[in-house]
């Protein structure tokens, strides 16, 4: 009998031994479920929203976004002030004296030069390496470095000494050619190739945050095989990472949890409203909601369970039950969270659906021939317009998505960029669509090849595609079928132009229309449609030359109109919403702004006696530092 029990005893011992290796930390003041697992804390490597969120706790750029201003103004961060030259091509930042790293050493302008050099160089492997291409000399420097690396790879002798010599040469070339300089510890001078109105906005963006030079230098080396400067990733471990933001990293157990404590060296620490922040790792969408409902989590930043639609419907029912009060509060100018806070407490009010800085659309392949060499009917703008006019966007949002998504006919999400108004977009009209299709040589859809709508297997893309295929079939008389592929295979096909129609998404990075419009520029690396229009490229070039910001935005609106009313290289379908879960009576400081970036130093657990205990609210945009006042408040785009 004892022998029979042996496996059981063994297994139980193993199970207990494994448990001892675990251990959860005590609850933090503010616990949030991030959108996904943080993939990196290295500013150069960042690519996902969840990375930027964690980074905003740890680091601060020259500026910070004022997330409660409608125009998302950059306000002083490490830079206490800045001046812009008359030709708008030179920015001189004055760094504050009390800006400190978490090890109490001062944050200097040299740290920024070092960090930006890492970002610009191809060595770092960052998706945002091209972000600073508006800075003088960057494009030429990157090309020069790439040629240098290629020559090294082709050479017969490759050794540590030669690779190190090349690196020295690279540093010299950067200093000589690139317009980023630190004349002293507290002054940073940036020279731009041309006026770039959104440059200041970029200085709040995570990849442009400074890095602690001394720490990085201990973790960087030159690979003698490739001559690339490479970084040992362990520099972002707790205890090693030196940061300059409102919090410091105290614990990071991958796919378990992250923990941040308020930094005692942060210059604006008095304004930080919570002592600690934790991000437990909860991957499953249903479990995230359950974690919120059990009280283990204060904020769930991306609600994705299969009953997402029902959650939102309950919120709508709550508002419907208080309709007169909601209307009164809205008329009084309260933001959506403040309205919920003013209503009686109800769990249904914990759901918040805010429009976000992303658009869902369908790419039309604009190349003359398809991937298999056959003629491409979508190369004709009349065909594209016909197909874009006949998508029932309202039905997609109402019947499939059900999470508060807004049907849209434009590319740039309405209300997301201060001072910019999108054109109305193409009017849906089945009769005009049929006429245009006939003019293109396909009367009643006759002779049109069978359409393949390429989507990836995640989420509800296939359902949407089936609805769109049905619309095209019934309204235009064409046959359309849905091709579902695994996400990576799907992306390869899209990037390689092997599709007729494919689903697509774009989220903006900075507060300027070009963050969306550049996508359709001829030759852009993300122009998956293969679209090329000299008229469109010329409009973008004209906007670059425009000296007056208002005139520039008007030109960009014309460029967007060309896309969404005439050329239609894609069919916009809906604007994303970000669905959050938090109790507005308990949590303050979560911004409903479409840009989605949050300033988590503003987050406050209300009534806990820590921090201001006053929830901030949205207000009209204002300028920070010595920035010139922004354009007057904008009409919020066009409601589709």
């Amino acid at each position: 009998m004892l022998r029979l029990a042996l496996p059981l005893v063994l297994l139980a011992s193993v199970a207990l031994a494994g448990l001892l290796a675990g251990g959860a930390p005590p609850r933090a003041d503010f616990v949030m479920v991030n959108r996904g697992e943080v993939s990196t804390l290295d500013p150069v490597q960042m690519s996902w929203l969840q990375d930027f969120r964690a980074a905003s706790l740890l680091s601060e750029g020259l500026t910070r976004w004022d997330v409660f201003s409608e125009s998302f103004d950059p306000v002083p961060g490490v830079a206490e002030s800045w001046t812009i030259s008359d030709d708008a091509c030179a920015y001189t930042f004055r760094l504050r004296e009390d800006a400190r790293w978490s090890d109490a050493s001062p944050v200097t302008a040299h740290d920024f030069v070092y960090a930006w050099r890492r970002l610009i160089l191809p060595d770092g492997g960052g998706d945002y390496a091209a972000l600073l291409s508006c800075v003088r000399g960057v494009r030429e420097f990157v090309e020069w470095r790439s040629r240098q690396l290629a020559a090294y790879a082709a050479a017969s002798t490759r050794d540590s000494a030669r690779a190190a010599a090349l690196w020295e040469e690279t540093v010299r070339a950067f200093d000589e050619r690139v317009g980023v300089h630190a004349p002293d510890d507290r002054t940073l001078v940036v020279e731009l190739e041309r006026p770039t109105p959104y440059f200041l906005d970029l200085t709040s963006f995570g990849p442009l945050a400074p890095v602690h030079r001394a720490t990085l230098e201990r973790h960087e080396s030159i690979d003698p095989r490739t001559a690339l400067r490479r970084t040992d990733p362990s520099w972002t471990r707790p205890g090693t990472l030196v940061s300059n933001g409102p919090f410091r990293l105290t614990e990071w157990r991958f796919k378990r949890h992250m923990r941040f404590e308020r930094s005692e060296h942060y210059w604006d620490r008095q304004r930080v409203n919570v002592r600690s922040v934790a991000i437990p790792s909860i991957a499953d969408g249903n479990a995230q909601v359950l974690a919120f409902r059990s009280g283990a989590v204060d904020w769930t930043s991306d609600v994705t369970p299969f009953y997402r639609g029902e959650i939102f419907a309950a919120k709508q029912a709550f508002h419907a039950a208080h309709a007169p009060e909601v209307a009164r509060l809205r008329a009084a100018g309260l933001d959506p969270v403040a309205i919920d806070r003013a209503l009686p407490r109800d769990p249904r009010a914990h759901v918040h659906a805010f429009p976000s800085f992303g658009t869902y659309f369908y790419n039309f392949n604009c190349r003359p021939r398809l991937g298999d060499g056959t003629p491409n009917p979508f190369a004709d703008a009349r065909v594209r317009r016909a197909f874009a006019r006949t998508i029932d966007r309202e039905s997609v949002a109402r019947d499939i998505l059900r999470g508060g998504e807004r049907p849209t006919r434009t590319l740039i999400p309405p209300g997301s960029i201060g001072g910019y108004a999108s054109p109305p977009g193409l009017e849906p009209d089945v009769e005009i669509a049929r006429r245009e299709l006939a003019e293109a040589g396909f009367p009643g859809g006759a002779g049109f090849p069978a359409i393949e709508i390429l989507v990836n297997s995640e989420g509800n893309h296939a359902l949407i595609a089936q609805a769109v295929a049905r619309d095209w079939g019934s309204r235009l008389g064409v046959r359309a079928r849905v091709i579902v592929k695994e996400t990576r295979a799907f992306r390869e096909d899209v990037k390689g132009g092997r599709f007729m129609v494919s689903r697509a998404t774009w989220f903006g990075d900075y507060g300027d229309p070009t963050t969306f419009l550049d996508l359709n520029r001829t030759g852009n690396g993300n122009n998956d449609r293969g679209y090329s229009s000299p008229a469109y490229d010329e409009l973008l070039a004209e906007a670059e030359r425009a000296a007056d910001p208002a005139e520039r935005l008007a030109i960009l609106a014309r460029a967007e109109a060309l896309l969404v009313e005439h050329e239609l290289p894609f069919a916009p379908i809906y604007q994303y919403v970000q669905q959050y879960l938090f109790d507005p009576h308990r949590v303050g400081g979560i911004s409903p702004h479409p840009r989605q970036a949050q300033d988590l130093s503003r987050v406050d657990i209300l009534g806990d006696g820590v921090g201001a205990d006053v929830a901030p609210a949205m207000r009209p945009g204002r300028a920070g530092g010595s920035l010139a006042p922004p354009a007057p408040p904008a009409p919020h785009g066009t409601t589709p």
Binding site: V14, F254, N526
Partner: protein, 321 residues
Amino acid sequence: MIALIARRLLQLPLILGAVLLLTLALAWGVPGNPLERAERRPPAEVEAAMRAQYRLDSFWSFAWSYTLRASGVRYAIDARRGEPMDGRDVFDLGPSLQYRDQRVADIIVDALPVSVSLGAAAIALALVIGVGAGVAGAVRPGGVLDALTLSLALVGISLPTFVVGTALLALFAIVFGWAPVGGWGSLRSMLLPAATLSLPYAAYIARLTRVGMIEALRADYVRTARAKGLPERTVIFRHALRNALVPTVSYLGPACAGAMTGSFVVETVFSVPGMGQHFVSAVQNKDLFLLMGVVLVYAVALVLLNLAADVLVRVVDPRVS
């Protein structure tokens, strides 16, 4: 027994080499750019630098470089050359291409004890439930208790773990508040995932035990024991059960391997930071380094667990040679 253990251990490097090549060939053939992480594509010069860094331009170059690093040969060569070395680089499994702040070896060191622990708890629980239910059903085959345990076993095998897991989570974590929703590190956090993971195994063990027990209870030696006037309890637990459990013990090896390596769904539902999550995300992301590392560990685990099961069978049943 020692010869068996030695033989299996000697086979291990060959098995690992074959697994490495096969996995790499399959992963390489899967469409998708391993360097792409979001909708946007990195600039061309960045992608070129990354390909050079990770030797992603050629299958054979990557395979050769990876084998040298993962096997420790590269470390030995570099150490001989007197290059500055980090002790963690002896078996260098590379970085994760998706989670670039993480080294694959660190991920595995962190996640493996969790999966092993969860799997062991699930199998222990499955043994207790399965053997108990199997014996109870076999004592009176065709009776009410037998029908009940067989039905429950059928349900246990049929119900997907994500349904069971979510239901248990909603009931015990939300309604009763007895267990946390996620996390790891306490007995309470282990109970629900272990129970969910154990159900299909418990059901299978119950059926194996029942069949073995019915056969054993019909055997001559049991009839003899009963004829001697031994109490039924003694007949069942001392005489019949031992032989009835041999198939169950043989099943333990693959069951342990399955529970410790195949708990992806349970790990996701309960946010358990184990290997299963990494395996699936590595496949989805075409994260070559992480995928190779996890597969190699799984291969080692499978060989060792099957070996342990073979040893156990010999301990339980000395007739097996």
